[in-house]
């Protein structure tokens, strides 16, 4: 009789859990004849994606978090497994002519989509919305089935986009990754691996950037002051205004440079150049 390290065994089983997730994605109710494609990434084929996301995350908090938690799971030798779910959503074979895409007929949409198929910030479009709905349902069934197996998991556009950038999931216009594990109470919620990634100054700046309404003073005069210090009424007044940020653009360009290097390196390793 063998004695197994239960913790190690549990984490090694994550690939089987990913397979169950793929089965669920394929069984999910499908209204619009959407063809779902799945792929499972592990180990040396997944760790580079975490690195790419950490680099890309220099100007995006959610991408940074997704990448960092993945990276730390590899450092802790309890690596995550990624279930990729994708589909080509850019053509409609339905002839439902429903208007959800903004066109009166599927034929008009298909013509427009063929001529204008292009990448946005994360994925390609345009997309037929009933196929998008099926795509969401498939991901939901995968995540639910993995959850039933008592493993922390989270559907993440970031891993899906990174996978497509290095050449995986050919033929798909949109791919989402479900990060599975490691076997612990919370991984992707609360994110304990991100402890001490910001101090109070950064936290206050984050709230000012994302929820400025908290900081806005009396607006009756038309020029509300920012309440960024407790003594704000007698400090030199600060106001919110919109404008470009050369600093942020430079930071983003630097990040994209690093990301480009990592993508090229991974593509070379995969033989996709």
């Amino acid at each position: 009789m063998a004695i197994m390290d239960g913790n190690k065994s549990a984490n090694e089983y994550l690939v089987e859990i990913a397979r169950m997730g793929a089965m669920a994605a394929l069984k999910a109710p499908n209204m619009a004849n959407t063809e779902i494609k799945t792929m499972i990434l592990t180990g040396e084929d997944l760790e580079p994606l975490s690195e790419i996301l950490v680099a890309l995350g220099a100007t995006s908090a959610f991408i940074y978090g997704d990448g960092l938690c993945g990276k730390k799971s590899f450092e802790a030798q309890t690596p995550i497994v990624e279930l990729l779910i994708g589909a080509n959503l850019s053509q409609s074979d339905l002839n439902w002519n429903c208007g959800a895409c903004g066109f009166d007929t599927c034929a008009e949409f298909n013509r427009y989509a063929k001529e204008n198929l292009s990448a946005g910030g994360l994925f390609a479009g345009p997309s037929c919305n009933w196929k998008v709905l099926d795509f969401g349902t498939a991901q939901s069934w995968a995540a639910a089935s993995i959850w039933q197996q008592n493993v922390d998991n989270r559907a993440q556009a970031s891993y899906g986009a990174a996978a497509m950038l290095v050449g995986h999931m050919e033929g798909c216009t949109t791919t989402v990754g479900i990060s599975i594990g490691p076997c612990r109470d919370t991984v992707w919620y609360n994110r304990p691996d991100m402890a001490h990634t910001f101090d109070m100054d950064k936290h206050e700046q984050f709230v000012l950037n994302t929820l400025p309404q908290f900081f806005v003073g009396f607006c009756g005069g038309g020029y509300p002051q920012v309440k960024d210090k407790t003594g704000w009424p007698v400090e030199p007044p600060q106001y919110l205004q919109k404008g470009e940020s050369p600093e942020l653009i430079a930071k983003s360009q630097e990040a994209m440079g690093r990301v480009g290097e990592l993508i090229a390196k991974e593509k070379k390793r995969l033989g996709k150049v």
Partner: protein, 259 residues
């Protein structure tokens, strides 16, 4: 001591209503699952409505039959809608799940799913908007011919898919039959069950001996169980009547040779 007797026949009798209560309970749990389903940013966006009762099912079925003629460019459309109207008549209740952000409150992520490189401009440029807000009322008359008032934020459409997935997954766990149907979805949105949502998915739900949503016949609208019963009741009473037999005074003799 009390008894709760359940059976599926005849429809809407007390025993059948007791049985339907289980489907209603499942529908509520499915609505919960639609709310807790994963979604972009954990943003609130889902509204649900559970509809039941003979009158309501008939209302939805008739709306579907009305919509059956709305898409002459698609030969299958009418057949699909006529078939699914029958399915609704055999349904215990319908869960409608709507997303109230798809049309006028995009995520603003710039992901590209709806329009590619145009990003969120794909929606904002095709809608009336100001102050970063979309006005759905403006120009609605010009768009009233559409079954769905698009364009829509596709990330939130995907989240509606997540909600549908959560609901149908729970149905599977509870062993009740359900299937998202396009006809029920569009009829439900037009009837206003999810009043704030431009995109709605309808999930008819049943706990019957045979799943009403699969294994049907061609021209199902002419070969329904109700039509079979109606036909049988007509034929049976006439046959019974004209086989003149005074049960009080005689009984048909057995055929010689059979003894």
């Amino acid at each position: 001591m009390s008894r709760l007797y359940m059976n599926d026949w005849p429809p809407y009798a007390k025993a059948d209503m007791n049985r339907r209560d289980g489907s209603l309970l499942a529908a509520k749990l499915m609505a919960n699952a639609a709310q807790t389903a994963p979604k972009a940013g954990g943003i609130d966006q889902v509204e649900c409505c559970i509809v039941s009762g003979e009158e309501e099912m008939e209302l939805i079925a008739r709306k579907i039959e009305e919509l059956a003629d709305e898409n002459s460019k698609n030969k299958m459309w009418k057949r699909i809608f006529r078939t699914e109207a029958i399915m609704v008549r055999e349904t215990d209740c319908v869960l409608f799940i709507g997303n109230y952000r798809v049309a006028d409150s995009p995520l603003d992520l710039g992901c590209g799913v709806c329009g590619g490189a145009e990003k969120c401009g794909y929606v904002y440029n095709r809608r009336h908007s100001r102050y970063g807000q979309i006005d759905l009322v403006e120009g609605k008359k010009d768009r009233s011919h559409r079954m769905v008032d698009g364009p829509l934020c596709s990330i939130f459409v995907g989240d509606l898919g997540y909600a549908v997935g959560g609901a149908t997954y729970i149905a599977k766990q509870l062993f009740v039959d359900t299937r998202p149907l396009i006809s029920v979805s569009i009829a439900g949105q037009k009837l206003g069950y999810c009043p704030n949502s431009e995109m709605v998915v309808g999930l008819p739900i049943s706990s019957l001996p045979k799943n009403p949503y699969v294994d049907v016949l061609p021209d199902y609208h002419l070969l329904t169980r109700d039509k079979a019963v109606k036909q049988l009741r007509k034929n049976y009473v006439v046959s019974r009547m004209v086989h003149w037999f005074d049960y009080r005074s005689w009984y048909p003799k057995e055929k010689k040779g059979d003894e």
